[in-house]
């Protein structure tokens, strides 16, 4: 008889680590399986760490977690081919500990988190890909790996295996991803001296800046670009809906290269040494795309359950929170010696519904559909806004009233008055 655990966690990303840590800390016997050489070696993120979600798991994480820069300034840019209109929000409030969010480098951060999981008592096996779930009727009783030469059993299996979740698909817990429900993001990391980053972004010490971008850089596709400051590197990337990539037949590499050549972006990354190129799918289907997340002896957490708030660029905090809440559900049932049946695990969904995870996703449930059907938010408007700024700011002997009329006409010409009103209504619906 193979060894049996209280719980098996598949994957050592933020959701899997949050779940394994919480379970192990309560004294349960936990096995965590990771297919990478080390935790983080298969994981890709922008990456921003939101303190709150981690604080609820490891309150003193700031003592030794590998953090890059705490963010004191957020820039939002709307780009045309040669220009951008932007807002910058910078506050010294964000420069006072405890800091609200940080840039991180996932390969380093995940290794640290995993160390905490192991210190809490979980057994981690790396370089181990789980090939199948072992079923007893409709109940999950263990996993089949490519390494142990056999099977491992547990009372509950938590799938924290990421957006592609081969296991959840094979088991029929989740359908294949729809190209309209995922974004494809590509990114690079560029190294340069700390002082260069500080002077280019007007920051000192370990303070940092993030830039989020929409507009021409996505070539009319629904998506965003980003540029984050790390201690001695910058991460730059762009992500768009996969359905748009498919429809427009755009090369993601070409898209990123052209973005890097934008006259407002190029000087910021100039001279950096590119040391890695990565790609990743982000589940952006929102509330309506969330599959069944628990059943007889199984639960789904993190990206595998499509828990991403695309509007606010939040994912890892939802991952950690779903991992923690799944673990807390298990701990409560174990204490009462109740079986991990679908009926009992429904408490996990209830916990999620009561948390910011489902509340936020529900709030934006209409957003993906509205933006899919109305690409003008990513094409026409960025262009018009930039042209309007250009018209108003350029001093050329034309009076301001004429300029205003010109701008108004440009908007009604491109979208018509009806179109503009409709778009305003759609925006309100999307964010309501």
């Amino acid at each position: 008889m193979a060894e049996k655990f209280d719980a098996i966690v598949v994957g050592a990303g933020p959701s899997g680590n949050a779940a394994a840590y919480t379970l192990a800390k309560s004294g349960l016997k936990v096995l965590q399986l990771e297919r990478g050489e080390y935790p983080g070696s298969k994981n890709v993120q922008g990456a921003i760490l939101y303190s709150d979600a981690l604080e609820r798991i490891i309150p003193d994480f700031r003592d030794d977690a590998p953090l890059e820069r705490h963010i004191i300034e957020q820039r939002m840019w709307v780009l045309d081919d040669e220009s951008f209109v932007g807002t910058h929000y910078r506050s010294d409030e964000f420069n006072k500990p405890p800091y609200n969010r940080y840039t991180i480098i996932r390969a380093q951060f995940d290794k640290w988190f995993s160390q905490k999981v192991q210190e809490a008592g979980a057994l981690l096996l790396c370089e181990t890909t789980v090939s199948d779930l072992i079923m007893d009727g409709n109940r999950v009783v263990g996993v089949q790996t490519d390494r142990l030469g056999g099977s491992v059993y547990a009372d509950i299996v938590i799938l924290a295996d990421g957006v592609n979740s081969v296991l959840a698909r094979k088991a029929g817990f989740r359908p294949e991803l729809n190209p309209g429900d995922v974004a494809l993001a590509v990114k690079e990391i560029h190294f340069m001296p700390e002082e260069t980053i500080q002077s280019r972004f007007n920051i000192s010490g370990e303070a940092g800046v993030v830039i989020e971008m929409v507009g021409k850089i996505t070539k009319g596709m629904m998506g965003t670009g980003f540029l984050y400051t790390n201690k001695e590197s910058l991460t730059i990337g762009v992500g768009c809906m996969l359905s748009d990539f498919k429809k427009q037949k755009v090369s993601p590499n070409q898209l990123l290269e052209e973005m890097k050549n934008h006259p407002s972006i190029k000087p910021l990354i100039e001279g950096g040494e590119m040391k890695e190129y990565a790609a990743h799918l982000i589940p952006e289907g929102g509330y309506k795309a969330i599959p069944q997340i628990y059943g007889e002896g199984w639960m789904i957490v993190g990206d595998s359950g499509m828990f991403v708030n695309a509007v606010h660029r939040e994912g890892s905090n939802l991952a950690m929170t779903t991992g923690r809440l799944a673990a807390e559900t298990i701990i409560e049932l174990a204490e009462k010696q109740k079986p991990f049946s679908a009926r009992n695990l429904a408490a996990y969904r209830e916990k999620l519904d009561a948390s910011f995870v489902m509340k936020d996703l529900k709030k934006y449930r209409n957003m993906p559909g509205i933006f899919h059907r109305n690409p003008q938010f990513f094409t026409t408007y960025p262009e018009l806004v930039n042209q309007a700024a250009h018209t108003m700011i350029k001093v050329d002997g034309i009076d301001k009233k004429t300029k205003e009329r010109e701008i108004r006409n440009s908007f009604t010409h491109r979208r018509s008055l009806f179109g503009l009103m409709g778009d305003a209504f759609k925006m309100w619906r999307a964010f309501e």
Partner: protein, 98 residues
């Protein structure tokens, strides 16, 4: 002067442990790509450029530079012609930074 880096040059910066002779992704039926798929979007949308269309219309897949994102599988929703698994434990892309 704008510079456009080729994807091959970029992948050279990445760390891989290639599972020689055991590709984790395969094209189920190459004839479908050659004759039934008009768009062959995998040859453009794979961020690592693993898929190339040959002169005779056939699609060739070399998985060595794969970033394991899943794009090729998800995007092939008209034909579902991509058999996609994770590499064996420890193999494939090994992100240094992620």
């Amino acid at each position: 002067m704008n510079t456009i880096a080729k994807v091959e040059e970029k992948l050279f910066q990445n760390r891989y442990k290639v599972d020689a002779g055991r590709p984790h992704i395969t094209i189920k039926n190459p004839d479908i790509c050659a004759h039934d798929c008009k768009t062959q979007q995998c040859s453009v949308c794979c961020p690592a450029g693993c898929y190339t269309t040959e002169g005779n219309g056939r699609v060739v897949l070399i998985t060595d530079g794969c970033l394991e994102c899943g794009t090729c599988r998800v995007i092939c929703d008209d034909h579902r012609n991509v058999a996609w698994e994770y590499p064996r434990g420890g193999y494939g892309i090994l992100f240094k930074f992620g």
